[in-house]
Structure formats: structure tokens, C-alpha cells
């Protein structure tokens, strides 16, 4: 049994998938689905001589945030970079399915007050996307997760949590974008093509992946917050993320839709405007956008604590 109190104080970046899953929900409330004891590891990796993990790099389970049942999916970046394979993907899909089934049941049993018990899904991302060793199964898993997210739309909130070492890249970057709400820390990174791949394809002059400051100001939480690609920015601790999630649970469900960045014609138009503005503004660096949105000293903004940052930062105005 992990010590919940200690977990709260842990840097979110340093917490492994299971610690995050335990720590993001209320004390003692977490029950794991398909735990290591079930030994459901990848059937593909042994043939390739690649090390396996009992949970295939994905921790799934159910916990509580107040009165709300919360279905947690937590990815482990240390295991093959958090890449999604067949088993891990199936665990993700099934967990969202269970959340939806629970939603139907709660609605049926307590129709008057079901909103108090409305399930939610939390996905703690730490991945580079598809596990290339089991490419087709991994790709399929991405599609199925997307499908589940769409099924959940308008029924239960799906919340992305991004603050772990590997960040959230590749196909899972799309998946994160498709969720309702994204919470990040400044250590979190979100994108499609990872820095190393950009450098490999476009050259060091285009993007120097070894330049961490560049990587973080382009893909990190502060940038995503300014650009409205993430909804909330929190400090790098398990407690801070959990506190934010509890607050999100207080948002009346009909309002959740407003937090989305994609998923309607209007939102597509907003995104297209943003693409257009990239041409008119012509930024050479992510921080040019920070400046454009009214932050006169972007480097100072990068250096200050999340708390100070939140107090002074100016963000892109949402159209909706």
C-alpha cells in the first residue's frame, strides 16, 4: 500500500504511474483494475526480446473525488517511453467503457441527484504515442480510445493530466487534445511530433532538441496555457494536481463543453483563425506569441514560479 500522505508531497514529475493513480484520488479510495497480480503483460514483446511489465505500462482503476467516482488511467513513461501497445490500449478503452456503464447505472438508480455521483475519467499521460513493437495494435488502440472519448462526450467529463517526464506526444497528443479539459504543470509537455523527431527530420537549425529551454517554451505547460491549449496550469506536486481536479469536479457539467478546444464547427473555426494568425504574426519563437498576447517580458515569465506566472500572465482570448 502506497503512503497517500507522502504521495501528496511528491513532485508530480517524479511520481510513477501507480503513485499518480493512487495519489490523484481521495485517500484510500483507489482500487486497481487488472493489477500486476493479474500479470496481463504484452504477448508481443517477449518474441522481440523486449522486457515486459505486468501492467503493460498502464495503471487503471477506480477512486473517488468527494462523491464522484473517478476512473483513472495512468501511463508509465519509464516503461518503453510510455508507448501504447495492445494490452495497455485495451485497458484504457475498457476503463472509459466502464465509466460510461457506471454513468448509465448511476443515472438509472439516482435520476434526481445523479450529477453528484457523475463519473469522470482522468488520464495521466506520459507517452510518446504508439508502441512501434506492436504498431498495428497500438494504432488501433489509439483509434479505439478516441472512439470512447467521443462516446463519452456530453455524458461524463474526460480530463487530461500532463506533468510527467516524457510528456505527451505522438498519437496520444491527439488523444489528449480530444479530451474535455487539460491540466498541466510547467514540467508537462504536449505536442504531436516530439522534439527529437523534429530535429531528425528538419535539422538542428530548425529545432535543437538538446536545447531544453527551447523545447519547454515550445511544448511546455506555460506555453500551452498562454495559447489556451491547456485549461489549467498547476504546481508540480501530486497535491496541486489533485486539488485542481477536485475543483474541476465542482464545474457544473453543462459548462464542461466550454473548456474544449476542438469538437465543433465553431471550435474548428477558432483553430483555423489561429493558424491564419501564425502567418500574419510570423513568430520565430514560441515566446513571440507570448509577447503578441501582451506579455512584454516573456523570458521573465518563463523563469518565475507557477504561482507568480498565473498572477501576471496574459493569455490568448478564447473566441467562445
Amino acid at each position: 500500500m502506497l503512503n497517500w500522505e507522502k504521495l501528496q508531497q511528491l513532485n508530480f514529475t517524479d511520481a510513477n504511474a501507480r503513485e499518480r493513480a493512487f495519489g490523484l484520488v481521495d485517500k484510500g479510495s483507489f482500487t486497481e483494475f487488472v493489477s500486476p497480480r493479474d500479470k496481463m503483460s504484452s504477448p508481443h514483446l517477449p518474441v522481440l526480446g523486449e522486457a515486459i511489465e505486468f501492467d503493460d505500462g498502464i495503471v487503471t482503476g477506480l477512486g473517488l473525488l468527494g462523491s464522484r467516482p473517478v476512473f483513472v488511467i495512468s501511463q508509465e513513461g519509464k516503461f518503453i517511453g510510455g508507448a501504447i501497445g495492445e494490452v495497455g490500449g485495451a485497458k484504457m478503452v475498457k476503463t472509459i467503457k466502464l465509466a460510461l456503464q457506471t454513468y448509465e447505472r448511476v443515472k438509472k438508480i439516482t435520476p434526481a441527484s445523479y450529477e453528484k455521483r457523475l463519473p469522470a475519467v482522468i488520464i495521466s499521460f506520459e507517452t510518446g504515442g504508439v508502441r512501434l513493437h506492436e504498431a498495428n495494435a497500438g494504432l488501433l488502440a489509439h483509434a479505439e480510445v478516441m472512439d470512447q472519448i467521443q462516446d463519452a462526450r456530453g455524458k461524463i467529463p474526460i480530463i487530461a493530466v500532463i506533468g510527467s517526464k516524457v510528456g505527451c506526444f505522438g498519437g496520444m497528443g491527439f488523444v489528449a487534445a480530444a479530451t474535455d479539459i487539460i491540466v498541466m504543470s510547467e514540467n508537462g509537455r504536449l505536442g504531436l511530433t516530439g522534439p527529437e523527431v523534429i530535429e531528425q527530420e528538419m535539422g538542428k537549425d530548425e529545432f535543437d532538441a538538446a536545447n531544453k529551454a527551447l523545447v519547454f517554451r515550445t511544448t511546455g505547460g506555460k506555453h500551452k496555457y498562454i495559447m489556451q491549449d491547456c485549461n489549467f496550469l498547476v504546481e508540480d506536486s501530486v497535491r496541486a494536481f489533485r486539488t485542481q481536479l477536485k475543483e474541476i469536479m465542482n464545474i457544473p457539467f453543462p459548462e464542461i463543453e466550454k473548456y474544449r478546444r476542438i469538437g465543433s464547427l465553431q471550435l474548428v473555426e477558432e483553430q483555423l483563425e489561429l493558424v491564419k494568425s501564425a502567418v500574419t504574426i510570423g513568430p520565430k519563437d514560441a515566446q513571440d506569441m507570448w509577447k503578441y498576447y501582451g506579455n512584454d517580458n516573456p523570458q521573465a515569465l518563463a523563469d518565475i514560479s507557477p504561482k507568480e506566472f498565473l498572477a501576471t500572465v496574459k493569455r490568448r482570448e478564447r473566441v467562445i
Binding site: G28, A51, E53
Partner: protein, 113 residues
């Protein structure tokens, strides 16, 4: 090159099993491993299965595991390890931590915060 499976069996002088039904510890990162301990009736023996991509370390695994079993007087335990190039010290540390985990009470009484 497929993964290799190593199997060992040990018997301590005065074997004692673990407190919990099972315990798990570790993440299979590079240079690391996970271990799953399960209480099982094995006539006082400890059986271990190691799944690893590394060759040529059977003897080292045997010695590391034998020491852990001996030092802790372990018995009636089934151990399964998924390894990814853990060094002997990392293996010893993880096993020690897993045993500490396995000796805690089954479930701490916890209140919702």
C-alpha cells in the same frame, strides 16, 4: 532474440512466509525491474521466475536471490521478476523494498480526505 526465463528454487533454514497475500514493487525502466511476491504453499521453499532480456547472468541472479532468501529467512513465497538490465545492487534494493512492502499490514485503515 526472445526474452529469457530463468527459474530458481531456494530453501532457507527457518523459512517464514510474507504477511500479505501478495505485494508488488518497481517499474521496468531501463536498468530497473519489478517484482511480484505471492504467498504460496511450497513446503517452505521460495520459487522465483525471472524474465529478462539479458544473457549470461544466471549465476549472478542465483546469488543475489539466494542471499535475499537467506537474509530474510523467506519461505512459501512465489516471486516473479520482470527485469530490464537491473544491476545486482538495484535488484537487491528492489527486493528488499518489496519485502518491506509485503510485511506491512494487509490494508491500512484509511479515511477519505
Amino acid at each position: 532474440m526472445a526474452l529469457k526465463e530463468l527459474n530458481f528454487e531456494f530453501k532457507a533454514a527457518t523459512p517464514k512466509t510474507i504477511k500479505k497475500e501478495w505485494a508488488h514493487l518497481g517499474v521496468v525502466g531501463s536498468g530497473d525491474m519489478e517484482v511480484l511476491l505471492e504467498k504460496r504453499r511450497l513446503n517452505g521453499a521460495v520459487k522465483v521466475k525471472v524474465v529478462t532480456p539479458v544473457t549470461g547472468f544466471e549465476k549472478v541472479w542465483e546469488l543475489v536471490l539466494a542471499k535475499v532468501v537467506k537474509d530474510n529467512n523467506l519461505g512459501d513465497v512465489y516471486m516473479e521478476i520482470n527485469d530490464n538490465n537491473a544491476t545486482p545492487i538495484v535488484a537487491s534494493m528492489r527486493l528488499r523494498q518489496a519485502l518491506a512492502e509485503a510485511s506491512k499490514p494487509e490494508r491500512e485503515v484509511e479515511e477519505n480526505a
